[in-house]
Symmetry: C2
C-alpha cells in the first residue's frame, strides 16, 4: 500500500505547537506506525461516525493494534447535527472513561464534523490533551484539519462555541477520497479553489487546466491537497488566533454561512463547500459591483466552479430561501462581525482578496435582493 514516492509532508509552523500534515495514499493502513514513531506509549480514543466506521474503522484499529497502540473507539451518528453540546459531553465522557491522560490523544477519523467535535473535546478534557486527525473528506484534508479551529454549533449559529487546539499530527490518506460521493468531493474542491482565489492566482489557473486529474486521483490530487494545506498552514502560522490576516480564509464564508443557516444546515439542500462556492462567486460579484474588481473575474470564477459541477448561484439551491432580511440577520450573527460593522472578504481580482471591515449593510441587502431575483 505504501507509496512513499507519492508522499508529501507539510509542516505547520507554530513554535512549540508545530506539527506535520502527511499526505498520500495508504496512510490509514500505516497510521499505527506513523503515530508510534512519533509518540511512543500513546493511547487513543478513536472518534468516528457510522458511515466512516463502516469503510475505514477496522483498517485503522488494525493498524493501531499492530503497532501496540491501545485504542477505545466511539462511533457517532453522521451529520452536522452531531456538532452539539450533548455529543461533546458524550465524547468527553468516553475519553475520561477510557482513563486517558494529558499525554494521550483523541484521534478523529472522519470529516469536518468529527474533526471539529473531537478536537474540541481534546482541547477541554484535562484542559487540553493530544489530538490526531485522520481526515476522510477532501474538505477536512485541506481545511478543517489545518489550523486548530474546533467547535460545535449553537442555536445562535454555526461554530459559535469552540477552542483553538492544534493537532499533533494529521494523516491525510488520499485513497479514502475515492470512496466519497462525488458531491462531497466537489464541495471540498471549493475550498481548494479558494486558496487560489485568495492569493495564489497561478494555482487557480493550474486548477482551471488540471481539475479533472485532481478529481480522478494520483499525483495531481496530492499536489492540489498539499498546496491547499500549505496555503492554509501559511495563513495560520501568520495569525494563529485569527486577529487579522487569517480572516482571508473566510473568502466566500460570510455569504456561505448565511446560506447554510438559511437552509437550516440541511445537507440535502446545501453542504458547507457548496455554500462557500456560491459565497465566493457572490463575493467576486459584490466586489465588481463596488468597483473593486472586474466583472470578468467574477464570471471566470463562476465558470470554473460551475464546470466542476458546483452550485454557483442562489437559485441552484433546491427549495425556497427565506426573505433577504433573514439572510442579513444570519450575516450579522456571523462571528466575523465586530461591534456592528459588517466585515467581508472582498477582492480586487483573482488571487487578490482582502478584508473589508466597513461594508455598508444596505449595499449588501440591495445586492442580495437583486441576485436572488436574477
Amino acid at each position: 500500500m505504501t507509496q512513499n514516492s507519492l508522499r508529501e509532508t507539510v509542516r505547520v509552523d507554530l513554535g512549540d505547537r508545530s506539527y506535520d500534515i502527511v499526505i498520500g495514499p495508504g496512510l490509514i493502513a500505516e497510521a499505527g506506525a506513523q503515530i508510534a514513531a512519533r509518540e511512543p506509549g500513546i493511547r487513543c480514543a478513536v472518534v468516528t461516525d457510522r458511515n466512516v466506521a463502516a469503510a475505514h474503522l477496522d483498517a485503522l484499529l488494525g493498524s493501531l493494534a499492530a503497532s501496540g497502540i491501545e485504542a477505545a473507539p466511539l462511533v457517532l451518528e453522521p451529520g452536522e447535527k452531531t456538532k452539539r453540546f450533548d455529543e461533546l459531553v458524550h465524547v468527553c465522557d468516553h475519553v475520561l472513561g477510557a482513563r486517558l491522560e494529558r499525554g494521550d490523544a483523541v484521534l478523529a477519523l472522519g470529516g469536518g464534523v468529527i474533526g471539529d467535535l473531537s478536537g474540541f473535546a481534546a482541547g477541554i478534557v484535562r484542559r487540553g490533551m493530544g489530538f490526531i486527525q485522520v481526515p476522510t473528506s477532501l474538505l477536512a484534508q485541506v481545511d478543517s484539519s489545518v489550523g486548530g479551529k474546533t467547535g460545535i454549533n449553537s442555536s445562535h449559529g454555526k461554530n459559535l462555541i469552540g477552542v483553538f487546539h492544534q493537532p499533533d499530527l494529521v494523516l491525510a490518506d488520499t485513497d479514502v477520497l475515492d470512496t466519497l460521493p462525488i458531491r462531497e468531493f466537489r464541495a471540498g474542491y471549493a475550498e481548494v479553489a479558494k486558496y487560489g482565489l485568495i492569493d495564489r492566482p497561478e494555482f487557480f489557473a493550474w486548477l482551471e487546466k488540471n481539475w479533472r486529474d485532481v478529481f480522478s486521483g494520483g499525483e495531481a490530487r496530492i499536489r492540489a491537497i498539499a498546496t491547499g494545506c500549505q496555503a492554509k498552514a501559511d495563513a495560520v502560522a501568520a495569525d494563529e488566533r485569527e486577529h487579522g490576516s487569517r480572516a482571508l480564509l473566510n473568502l466566500g464564508h460570510t455569504f456561505g454561512h448565511a446560506l447554510e443557516a438559511a437552509t437550516d444546515y440541511d445537507g440535502r439542500r446545501l453542504v458547507h463547500g457548496e455554500g462557500v462556492a456560491i459565497g465566493m462567486v457572490l463575493a467576486h460579484e459584490f466586489s465588481a459591483r463596488m468597483n473593486l474588481a472586474s466583472p470578468d473575474d467574477a464570471r471566470r470564477v463562476g465558470h470554473h466552479l460551475r464546470e466542476v459541477g458546483l452550485p454557483t448561484v442562489m437559485s441552484d439551491i433546491e427549495g425556497e430561501l427565506p426573505p433577504t432580511d433573514i439572510l442579513m440577520k444570519h450575516i450579522a450573527q456571523d462571528k466575523k462581525v465586530r461591534r456592528g460593522a459588517l466585515t467581508f472578504v472582498l477582492t480586487r481580482g483573482i488571487g487578490q482578496s482582502f478584508v473589508a471591515d466597513d461594508v455598508p449593510a444596505d449595499e449588501v441587502f440591495r445586492f442580495l435582493e437583486e441576485k436572488r431575483a436574477s
Copy 2:
C-alpha cells in the same frame, strides 16, 4: 469609598495575555470606572449566584451603568453542583443571546465556582472572548482568579473539563470578604498559607504572627492577598500551562481533592480549602515519613492551621469516609497522574516544596491507613 492609599496592583506577566489584579476596598462600587478606563465601549454578561447577587449585584450593575457599560446579568444557583455541562450551556446561551462579540466580556461576580464556570464559557464562546473577574471569596481572590484555569466537574472527577483562559482584569474588593461566613474565609486562608509553605517561609512566619489581623481586615489583609496573588502570578508566569513548576501550586491538593471526592463534594462536610488544609498537613507528614523533612515542620503546619480554626486531620471531617482503596482510586484519577506513576507535591521543610513524580502507591496506601486509624 475609594481609599487609593490602601490599594495594591499585582501584574500577571504573560506576554500579550498579561493583566492586572487590583486589590483593595471599595472596588465593586468602582468597577465601572476601572473597566471603562481600560476597555472603552465594552459590553458585559455578568454571571453570579443567588447569594452573591443578593449582597453585591445591584452595587455592581449600578457602577457599570454609571460608566455607560451595558450589562446582561445571569443569576445561577450557588454551590459546586453548578460547575456542570448544563450550566455551561446556560451561560454560553446567555452570552450569545446578549449578542456579545469577541471584544466584549463575561464578568464573573462570585467565588471559585462562578469564576471557573464563567471563565470556561468566556474561553469557548466565539473561541475565546474577554473575561473580567470580580472575586467575592478569599479563595477566589488569591487562587482561582489568578492563572487562567477554568473548568467544570465531570462524573469522573473535579475540574476534569476546562480550558486555560486568562482574564483581562481582576478586581479583588477586600471589603466584600467581611460579608463571608467565617468558615469560608478560613478555607480561603488555607490557600494563602499554602504560598508560604511552597517557597516563602518568611511569609508563613509572618502569617503565624499576624493571621488575626488578616482575619479582621485592613492593611494586613490586603498585604496577605497581594502576596498570595503575587506568588501565584509568579508561578503562572513561569509555567502558564502547568507543564512543570506550576504543579507546586498543587501542594495539599492531591490528598485534598481525594477527600472532597470521598465526601461527594458536599460542602456541609468539607469545602475545598478545608480539604487543602488537611492535604497540606498530610503532605508534610508523608514527607516526614519518607525522611524528606522533619516531623517538627509537619507539627508546626498542623498547629498554625488548627489555630486559625481549620480542620487538619481526616477525623475532623464529619461522618464516615470510604475505605482507603476508594481514596486511592480518587488519588489515581486526579489529573496530576502521568502514565500510572503517582505525582505528589512533597516538601523538605517549610517553604521547600517540590514535585515528586515517583511516589509509590503502596506507601501512600499504608500511610493513609495509619493516619485515619490515629
